[in-house]
């Protein structure tokens, strides 16, 4: 077994997951969609307006409620599932030793719309306009009395939240941390991406030669991270059906900034390449040891081109198999890093490479490893997860499966 890196004294592992996404409620819905390579993108009548570039989104199937606090609802649904799946481990940890890190870009932005339109809006929904209050209330409601943080680094937020949670465990501030990612679809977000002309009218097609934009999406996603102290290792997680201990671990991460443009990635991919190299260095891995890469893959011309260049920069002509999930879920912004890490964990546990939903013709310049349809593999033990975001932020996270 590989030794953990020296600056990584406490191994941190995934003990449970929860997700509410465009493909349905629960990790099982995500697992099924991942296996079937299906897409949850569909026309959403709420956004059927000339004010928006497209009505095709990654909306969570409607409950029929006129909800003034969807961020709370989606986050709570995901967190309840994650806690439930890690129940045996969490029973052994006092509430004071459980932390929560929230990843969000817009928190409960629905409240701003409702208040400005003089629609009914509860005080709680208004309070959750502020991500730190949403985080604090989630922690209080879910029995986390340890440290609480609200992280927001554009679309890299989810990966940064996982890093922050791992750090809390490693420096002894917590024994378990709930990482929660949430962002919701709103007129605010749709109007913004329309103003930027960033939406593909026909639904996003990551790495496709005809790609022309992203599809906004929404999700609540939660991961229970635990330190792998021996006292915790007699419990199974939902991802480890046969093992006696959670086996999917955080091996390392890297971050960087392009310092180039507020809304566009650098053309040469050097920033993302630097983040990947930092993550490999922290994980003490060589590029050839990565079995699969889950790309950011928004479907915008510039992002996917930049990402392709970055992958070639680091991996050369021997790029590992990679794919993107935003054709399935849309771009879930602050939730993306969390929900896409859950996808990676499912793939590692079940030994298959996820596909790239909605891909027709692979664009020129895309590395040869792009996976079109899911396929089984003998091993998928080292996975690299990538995200990039506005403000030039880049993030890379490496997961290991023993």
């Amino acid at each position: 077994m590989r030794e953990p890196p020296a600056n990584f004294p406490t191994p941190v592992a995934i003990a449970g997951c929860g997700a509410t996404t465009a493909v349905g409620r629960g990790v099982e819905a995500l697992r099924s969609a991942l296996r079937a390579n299906s897409s949850g993108l569909r026309a959403c009548e709420k956004f059927d307006s000339p004010r928006f570039q497209s009505k095709i989104t990654g909306a969570i199937p409607q409950t029929g409620n006129d909800n003034d606090n969807p961020a709370w609802q989606f986050a709570t649904d995901a967190l309840e599932e994650a806690r439930s799946s890690a129940l045996e481990i969490l029973k052994k940890i006092p509430a004071e030793r459980i932390g929560l890190v929230l990843s969000t870009t817009k928190a409960n932005i629905a409240a701003l719309e409702r208040i400005s339109e003089n629609r009914l809006c509860s005080e709680t929904a208004r309070r959750h306009l502020q991500g730190n209050f949403l985080a604090a209330d989630l922690a209080a409601a879910h029995g986390a009395r340890g440290p609480v943080q609200c992280v927001s680094v554009a679309c890299v937020s989810g990966l940064v939240a996982i890093q922050q949670a791992a750090k809390l465990i490693q420096r002894g501030a917590a024994d378990a941390v709930f990482v929660v990612g949430v962002d919701t679809l709103s007129n605010f977000v749709m109007a913004g991406f329309t103003a930027l002309k960033a939406i593909d009218p026909n639904g996003c097609r990551p790495f496709d030669k005809d790609r022309c934009g992203l599809s906004p999406g929404e999700a609540g996603a939660a991961i229970v991270l635990v330190g792998q102290a021996s006292s915790l290792c007699s419990s199974k997680s939902q991802l480890d059906r046969q093992d006696a201990c959670p086996t999917i671990k955080i091996l390392g991460w890297g971050g960087s900034n392009d310092a180039n443009h507020l809304t566009g990635p650098s053309r040469d991919g050097s920033g993302l390449a630097r983040a990947i190299r930092s993550a490999l260095k922290m994980s003490k891995l060589l590029p050839a040891e990565i079995d699969y890469i889950n790309a950011h893959g928004t479907g915008t011309p510039y992002n996917d081109a930049m990402e392709s260049i970055a992958l070639k920069n680091v991996f050369g002509e021997a790029c590992p198999p990679f794919s993107g999930a935003k054709g399935m879920l849309g771009h879930t912004l602050g939730a993306a890093g969390v929900v896409e890490t859950i996808l990676c964990a499912i793939a590692m546990q079940e030994k298959f490479l996820p596909g790239t939903p909605r891909l027709n013709t692979i664009a020129e310049g895309v590395p040869a490893g792009l996976v079109r349809e899911p396929r089984s593999v003998a091993k998928i033990n080292r996975v690299l997860k990538l995200n990039t975001g506005f403000g030039g932020a880049n993030g890379a996270l490496i997961l290991g499966h023993e």
Binding site: T104, L129, F188, G192, N257, S278
Partner: protein
């Protein structure tokens, strides 16, 4: 464990903005980014002395981007529709991007939506772990009148910045350094080692 030092501090208020001389692009930024850039500029640090990928930028945004969110949303029915420029600033971390662009800083980023009580310790942790050698820490409290009305807190506009590094500085960072505003009020002269 390496000691981390406070190498420079700054504190700015809305009244300092008219005298800011930060180029034509500055006027196009949202208020939070302007305050953050001005606070970093006021540190007096020459960032060209450092390897750009070893300088991290960490931000605490007291109410996230809510002041800019309200401005963007209120402009949705204006001529030409909602502003694409302003939309880019409806992310709490937008100011980090502006700081990185101006000073060509390509190290890792961290942004909290909250006051700054954990900012310095998390920034120091980045250095302790070897993820960066230096860190620009910025705390922004930008609550416009419209945002203040929305979330029912008093309006305010201010920012402060701290530059952390290993080795030497004004004084060593301690676990008690949690209030950046007081900290920045107590120091004014930068001392930087390249």
């Amino acid at each position: 464990m390496n000691k981390i030092f406070i190498a420079a501090t700054s504190k700015v208020a809305a009244a300092d903005l008219p005298s800011a001389r930060l180029g034509p692009r500055f006027a196009r930024l949202d208020l939070q980014s302007q305050m953050a850039l001005l606070a970093v500029e006021s540190l007096g640090v020459d960032f060209q002395e450092f390897s750009p990928d070893r300088v991290a930028v960490c931000l605490a945004a007291k109410i996230g981007s809510l002041s800019t969110d309200v401005e963007f949303w209120n402009g949705r029915d204006g001529a030409g529709g909602p502003s694409p420029t302003l939309f880019a600033y409806t992310l709490p971390s937008a100011a980090i991007g502006e700081i990185a662009i101006r000073h060509k800083l390509t190290g890792p980023n961290l942004c909290f939506v909250d006051d700054d009580k954990i900012l310095l310790s998390e920034a120091a942790d980045l250095i302790q772990r070897g993820e960066a050698d230096y860190c620009v820490c910025v705390s922004c409290a930008v609550v416009t009148a419209a945002a203040a009305e929305l979330i029912q807190i008093p309006p305010e506009t201010g920012a402060c910045a701290v530059f952390l590094q290993r080795g030497e500085g004004l004084r060593e960072l301690t676990e008690f350094d949690r209030d950046m505003k007081s900290l920045c009020a107590n120091f004014c002269r930068p001392k930087i080692s390249g």
